[in-house]
Symmetry: C2
């Protein structure tokens, strides 16, 4: 499998970042990731409630190619995380204010809570 | 002349804001406006160095329809300003971090300084 492309954060222009954020589903993914304290929550398969698998793949790629997220492939699972350290270094304060703005949007698509494995 | 449409800031979704920011020319306009201390600098005709008149009109409309800027028509002149109070109320911190991010982009189109009218 070809390794996934992740741009050097210094090559990312602000307009690329904003283009990647210009979609409610991608903002919904970002908000869910910002809240993911458990590794399991960031499993790509947890986002199936938001869009069809092919559309989700498209949105994941958009976020990754803009330098916003990192995707890790482990066996048959894919895990997403926000490139917080990179983003905070290159654009201080931007990520937090974007997430806060997105959280204020009542119409933003919400990722369903993953089912509890343990009772 | 039909009055220009300016959306209620509470009707603006974060994704609309980011879509309007997803262009280097519009970010360049925003950075120039953020720096406009003199009224004359915000005259729309000062932006002619950035793009053709019809393209500029398109970009001005995108920014205005996303709730980011206000356009005032006075005689044959049009004046642009950032809706800072509205944006800061609805999305605290977002505008400043967007402008700071845009200012860090060395490839951002810069608006030429207006010619000094007085020596």
């Amino acid at each position: 499998m070809k390794p996934l492309f992740h741009p050097d954060i210094d090559d990312v222009a602000p307009a690329d970042i904003f283009a990647a954020l210009a979609d409610p589903i991608r903002l919904g993914i970002l908000v869910a990731l910002s809240d993911a304290t458990e590794m399991d929550k960031a499993r790509c398969s947890n986002f199936v409630g938001l869009a069809s698998p092919s559309l989700l793949s498209y949105h994941f790629a958009k976020l990754r190619e803009a330098g916003i997220t990192h995707m890790r492939v482990e066996g048959t699972s894919r895990y997403l995380s926000i490139r917080r350290a990179d983003l905070d270094r290159r654009f201080p304060g931007l990520l937090d204010s974007v997430i806060e703005a997105a959280q204020r949007d009542p119409s933003l698509p919400r990722v369903p809570e993953p089912a509890q494995a343990k009772g």
